[in-house]
Every structure is written in C-alpha cells, then in structure tokens.
Symmetry: C2
Subunit: 491 residues, 2 copies
C-alpha cells in the first residue's frame, strides 16, 4: 500500500528529479514549437499534390521535406506523454491515489486545452498517430486483464456480472432519458429538425457506457484484481461493452436519422455476443496447440511477438466483424491464460504494456477541455455546468444502483457499483457521434463531457477508499495479494 | 550456434505451424483489402475538407468515418510485418543464416513490389505511421548496441575504427566517382543541366554509406558483439554515420544546385562530431545520478519507460541539431551502460526491442523493387543490371579494403571490411535524394538501388562464414559467448 514518503532528504531528491525532468520537458516543448511550422505546411502541400492527381514526385518531395522533423516531433510528443504520465502517476501514488488518476490529470495538463503539447485536433496527422499508439495501449491493457482472467471464475461471477451490466445500462438510460424528456433542459435552441424525444434517447444512451479500461487499471494499481468484486466489475464492464455496441448501433442510427428497428438492434447484439463466444470457444482449442508450436521456435522474441500479434489480431477481427476491439484483445488474453506459455507471456508482455498503456490514459486526459470550468474563458457557461452536474449525479446513481442488482450475492455491492461509474473514452465516443450528427447542440455536448470527465476522475479515489475500508471478498483459494501481472514492485 | 533441425516430427510441426500462420495472414490480407476502400476515400475527402478552410466538423466526420477500419488496417499491417519478420527470421536461422537476413527477405515479400501488404508509397498515411514505428525500432536497436558498448573498449579500438571509417568512405567514393567520370555509363540521357562531374560525385557519395543497423544485428545474431572485430566495425560504422552526415550535406547541396564550400562541409562535421562528444561527456556525469533518482520512484515501469524516453530524447535532440538520430540513441545507450541500473534496463528493454526492431528491417526489405530483376516486368533493364553489378563490385571492394587500413592491428581484417559493406537504409536515403533532386536519372537510380540491395543482402551470410571460420579476437578478459543483450535463447 502506498504511504506518504520518508524524510527531508528524499523530498529534496524528488524535487531535484522534478526539475531535471522539467528541463527535459522544456527542451521538448521548445523543440516541438520550432519543428511545428515545417509540419503545418504539409496539409496545404498535400492538397496541392492531391490536385495534381497524386503525382508521385511531388508527394515524395513533401514527405522528405518534413521527414526529419516529423520523426523528431513525434519522439518529443511520445516522450512528453510518457514522462508526464509516469511522473503524475508517481505523484498520484505518493498522495495515496491510483497511478491511473495521475496519468489522466497529466494528460489534461499536456492536452489541447492547457499546454497543447499532445495534439488532439481532428485532422492533425500527428494526433492520428498518437491515437494509433493509444489504441495499441488499450488493446494490450485488456489483453493483460484477459490474461489474469480465469474463465471458470468468469463463469462463476457470470450471472451476477450480467445482472449488474443490465441494471447498469438500464438505470442510467431510463433516469437520463426521463429527466431530459420531462424537464427539457435544452441549453439554447433545439438543433433544427430534431425532436425532444430523440435528444432524450441520445442523452440516455451516452449515460450507459462503462470504461472497463479505467476500472481495470485502478483495480490493478490497488492489487485487487483477484477479488470477487473486481471479477464482477470486469465481467459486467465487458458485457457493458457488448451492450454498448448495441447502443452505438442505436445512436448511430438515430444520428443518421434512420429508423431503428428491433431487427437492427438484435443483429448488433448477436454480432457482439457472437464474436466473444466464438473467439473464446475456438481459441480454447487452437490456442494451446498454437503456442506449444510457437514455443518450439528459437528466434529471439518469438513468443512475445506472437502473443502481441495474437492480441492485435483478435482486436482487428473484432473490429472488422463490428464488435469492439477491446473485446477481441480481452478474448485473446483469456485464450492465452489457458496455455502452458502463460507465465512467460505475462512476464514479457509487461514491459511492452508499460510503454504503450500510459499513452492511452494520457490521451484520454488530453481530450478534456478544462476551459469549460474556467469562468474567465469563452467556453465557460453556467447553464452547462448545472446541467452537467445533474447528468453527473444521474450517471453516478444509475451505476451505483447496479451493485444491488444481485441482492443474493455476498459481496461489497457499493464497490461493484462504484467500479461501473467511469464513462471514459466510451462516453467520449458516444457524445462525439451525437455532436457531429447534429443531435446534440454544443452546450448539451459540453454538459455530457462534464459528466464523462467527472465520472472518470472520481472513480479511482472512490474505489481506493472503498476497497481499503471494507474487507474484499476473496475468490475461492486464490491469494488476493500479488496478482501475477500487476507487479507493483517491478520497475 | 544454429543447427539444421531434428526429425520428421519436428518438420511436420513446423509445417502445421506454417499453415496456421498462412491462414492468419490470409485473413489479414483479406481484411486489409476489404478495409482499403474506406481508407482510400480519405485523401479526396481530406482535400475537400482542406478546401473548406479546414472546417472542423467536416474534417472530424472524415476522421470518424474511416476511424474503426484505419485502426484495424494498421493492426493487420503490423501483424503481417511482425509475423512475416519472425517466421522468415526463424527460417533463416534454420538454414544457418542470421535472423536479420530472413527479416529483410520477408520484408521484400510483403513489400510494395510483391504482395503489397506493407504500404511503401510516398503520401500513404499508413506508410508514414509504419515508418515512425520503424524509426522507433532502429532507435531502440542502436540503444541496445550502445548499452553493450563499453566506452573504454571503444577508446581502445577508437584509432583503428577511425582509420577503417575514413578508408571505408574514401575508397568507395574515389573508385565510384572515378569509374563514373571516366567511363560515363549514363544510362540514357543526362538529366538536363547536370554535368557529368556532378553525377559522378553524387554516385561516389552514395557508395560511402554504411548501415550500422544491419551489421549490428548480424553480429548480435551471431553472438559476436564482444569481439574486437565487432567493436571496430561498430565504432567505424558510427564514425561513418558522422561522415555520412557530412556527405549528406554535400549531396543535398549538390542536389539543390548550391555551391558546396569547405565552410559548409566543416560546419556539418563539427555539428555531427560535436553532438556525440557533448552528449556522451555530459551524459557520463548526469546519467548515473538521474537514473539513481529514477530508481527510487515506485510507479510501475518507471525505469524502463525512463530509459526508453532517454533513448528517444537523445535521438530527437541529435536530429534537431542536424546530427543523425541513431547517433543520439547510440550515445544514450553508452551513457546508460555506466549506470547502476544497467542490468535491469537491458533486461526490460529487450521485449520492447523484440516488438519494434523487426518493423525496421522488414520496412527496409519492403522498399526493395524486385521487378528490377524480373525480365518479364516493365521495370527490367539489362543496362541497369550491368551497371548495378559494377557499382556493387566497387561498393564491396571499397569497403573490404578498409579492413586493411590498420595493418598494425592484430585482428581479422576481412571480417572488419565485410562488416562495413551493407549500405542499407542510409544508401536508400542518399539515392532517393539524388533522384528527387533531378541528379540521377531513373535508370541510374535503379542501378544504385541494386548496389544498395545486394550489399545489404550478402553481408549477413558472408559475416557468418567469416566469423565461424576464423577464431575471433577476444577483447581483454571479456567472455565472447553470451553477450548481455543478445539473448539468443530468450523468447
């Protein structure tokens, strides 16, 4: 358990360290600004190149022109993300909070609305590249969670997780949509041609998401991944992702103005559930043989690279079959957890995860617009804050209720409910679709953003308090301390 | 030492494995093709968006439209690179060749001129992203080489390495430029407004490069990294990179039509040498303290991530100060090799290197146009093949000579000379600048490409033969077998 650190000498050292890193950061930022113009020129020139019907020579000229500095700028952004992520993670642990909270806050600081070091603007090619690194990060994170997941345990908590997931989707949806429909708190005018009912359904839908990534990291940071509560939360969050895909089909249909039929919703549900079941069932048969074969190869790094590719492959297949990437990589982890190479894979994927996963959490933080909270900025709006606060209340209550959806289970129901609270990136994706589809006005979008942000940021400290106060319920025979892949002491 | 594998049972297993992977690849390729149209649409739409003066909403719409499939496509390409890289690396080792040769050949197969799975066309955003991953790979590779490099040993081989480097630059340059100037084998017409002397100087310059990456990987694969020959080759290759930067300033000036003065060449030399010296000297003082501090932090992965960032930072700083990235990351490795955290860093950077470095070598292979060698294709040209063969001969002889530039040193001079042969990506960069600058006609460019390719591909098998025949010269007291970071047996 983290404790507040030792004597004055240690504090001095940390301070020196801080300034050394701050210096490095400064160099990074300065370098990045110096390099920026060369890169900014590129869309315009790329356009010209496109106009010339992709005349090869011109396109390559542009590429080479910006070349050296593009790579350097990319490296500096990556350094900024990782250094800020790790330092704020460390700071969070020192004040007794999970590291992921620090990474999120660090992300806000380097993000578009504060320092602007990490590009978040749509259309910026660098933002796209960072996004792909972040995607690899979340895929590896869920792969690690899957590795730690015993399928038998999952089946034991399965009914409870399913109940929690369904209540956790239904309660916020009904509360949110009902609140919106009956009070009509449209901030400003309705978007043209959009009925109140449609907006209400959309707002309700955005309240249903659960970011399994945030909760999984918190539980890993707290060394609680093997408790019954954690298993239930992860199981419910995965089911939530499946339901989320159905919701997504619903909201995308709504945003496009299409009729949403029972057929389309059912088909989305079948595809999402189907992928997980098919992948795990087939994988249980093929996985052990495949990795026994791979283990016999002798080239350096073959086992790690195979496991890494396996996680990416199932993520890509999940995406191409209209399921969620993270469901694919979670399934890959579950499959590998039953192979003989399990221990080696866990040990060797960890450094790769250390490099990639902070990129994801810092990116989520970087997408936050803090100006919404600052009265002296143009983005500030009291009405937005009030409605945002109300939505946040609904979001929190709606998920906490879900903990009590299994009254017969002997476990810490508050912990389960709180674990379902964070909306994270899933909430951001939903809200963004609504805004771009013209269903949500800018103020309503901002209010939803507040709900997503607050629900994401309060969960880590809340979970910590709850898990430390109450005695967690151990899964039969498994040790609660020292889960395999969390490795609190390994650096 | 690799041996050709066991009985029929093992062969059968390998064959099954091959088909399983082939199946996965097929899925990957099919998926990639299915996803391609959505992505291909994007430049046109991006152009439209640019025309609308970057109207935010439109830009984001485009981004989100292609979103899911972009990530899936990227994952599938990454999987193709890594799986093909590892399988062909394994195949190479099984026939007794270094794994890197397999990775290069695997790259050719998945590259633009054969299967086209790995995008290489300039202007393709996916090619840019893969390129950035490859850059991270080569940075980590040189960081690992630096980690294994003892500064004292480097000083011991320093004079010999410098002599080898200078002769290895001068001999191919003089031979190549002289051959071109006196025989004028211009394939087709001279490019307009370009004198024969200029082309001759440029051809000579492209013959001077050495790809330290290729040789370092071969020596690591062969477990020879700690021999005196390997130290001399690596030292000379690093000095060659410094000289290469001076050459690059020269050729870029030539290509731009500018006057190349003694002043500009000297300044380029001062900057390149200066960066390495300043980085290592300052780093020797700061490095150990910085990493002692970092070692006291407790957040997961902090040491690995710090080392990773340190390598990226020095690479970026090297680039921004007009030195070469790989010199920066090599310096970072040398600096970290004198810290107390050395062992842990070596151990934990290895899995990260396993994931990133094959991307670099497969990318180098993917850039090769095999159609140059195929009589039934439009790119085939007998004259190109003949001139390419002559240039290849000059390239090989010019570097082998360099091994005898230190007659007083007791070491395997042939091994040193052969180790300097591969032109790799450095040669590709030089040739590309000449083509785009209008100095090299398409046939001359192709002939130089052949020289780059052949010199790169023949070195791994040649080095293997030479190092296995002759007894390598051990560095005082250091064990030759089992170098720290090569870990042939670790997967």
């Amino acid at each position: 358990m983290p404790t507040s650190g030792g004597g004055g000498r240690r504090v001095r050292r940390i301070r020196v360290l801080f300034w050394v890193f701050a210096g490095l950061m400064l160099i990074g930022v300065t370098g990045e600004r110096a390099a920026a113009p060369a890169v900014e020129a590129s869309p315009a020139v790329a356009e010209a190149a496109a106009a010339q019907e992709h005349e090869a020579a011109a396109g390559e000229e542009v590429e080479e022109e910006a070349e050296g500095h593009t790579t350097a700028r990319f490296f500096l952004i990556l350094i900024a993300i990782l250094v800020v992520g790790k330092l704020s993670g460390e700071a969070a642990e020192r004040v007794g909070q999970p590291a992921v909270l620090g990474e999120l806050i660090g992300g806000v600081i380097v993000g578009g609305s504060v320092l602007g070091i990490v590009p978040t603007a749509a259309g910026d090619p660098m933002a796209e590249i960072i996004h792909l690194f972040a995607e690899v990060g979340v895929v590896i994170l869920l792969f690690e969670v899957g590795l730690e997941t015993d399928l038998k345990e999952m089946f034991r908590v399965g009914p409870a997780a399913a109940a929690v997931a369904f209540v956790g989707v239904a309660a916020p949806f009904l509360l949110g949509a009902g609140y919106w429909y009956f009070t009509d708190p449209e901030l400003g005018a309705h978007p043209p041609g959009v009925s109140l009912a449609k907006v209400a359904v959309f707002v309700g839908a955005t309240l249903t998401a659960t970011s399994v990534g945030i909760t999984a990291r918190v539980l890993t940071d707290l060394n609680q991944m093997r408790t019954k509560e954690a298993r239930t939360i992860i199981g419910a969050a995965v089911i939530d992702d499946v339901l989320g895909l159905v919701m997504l089909a619903l909201v995308v249909g709504l945003a496009a103005g299409a009729a949403v039929t029972v057929g389309t919703v059912t088909w989305a549900l079948v595809k999402a559930v189907g992928f997980l079941v098919v992948a795990v069932v087939i994988g249980q048969f093929i996985g052990p043989h495949l990795f026994d074969f791979i283990d016999r190869l002798r080239v350096r790094g073959i086992l790690l690279v195979s496991a890494f590719c396996f996680a990416l492959l199932l993520a890509a297949l999940a995406d191409l079959s209209d399921s969620a990437m993270i469901i694919g990589s979670f399934a890959a982890g579950i499959i590998l957890s039953s192979t003989n190479q399990f221990d080696l894979v866990v040990e060797r994927i960890e450094p790769v995860a250390d490099v990639f996963t902070p990129i994801f959490f810092v990116s989520v933080g970087a997408a936050v617009n803090v100006k919404l909270f600052l009265p002296w900025t143009a983005d500030f709006n009291t009405g937005v804050l009030v409605i945002g606060g109300l939505l946040t209340g609904i979001a929190i209550i709606g998920k906490i209720i879900s903990g009590w959806s299994v009254p017969w289970e002997k476990m810490n129901k508050l912990a389960v409910g709180v674990g379902m609270i964070p909306r994270g990136e899933v909430g951001l994706i939903f809200a963004d679709i609504g805004r771009r589809g013209g269903l949500l006005s800018e103020p309503v979008f901002s209010a939803i953003l507040i709900m997503v942000m607050v629900s994401t940021f309060i969960t880590p400290p809340l979970l910590k308090v709850i898990f430390q106060r109450a005695e967690p319920t151990e899964m039969g025979g498994e040790p609660v301390a020292e889960p395999v892949a969390s490795g609190g002491g390994s650096n």
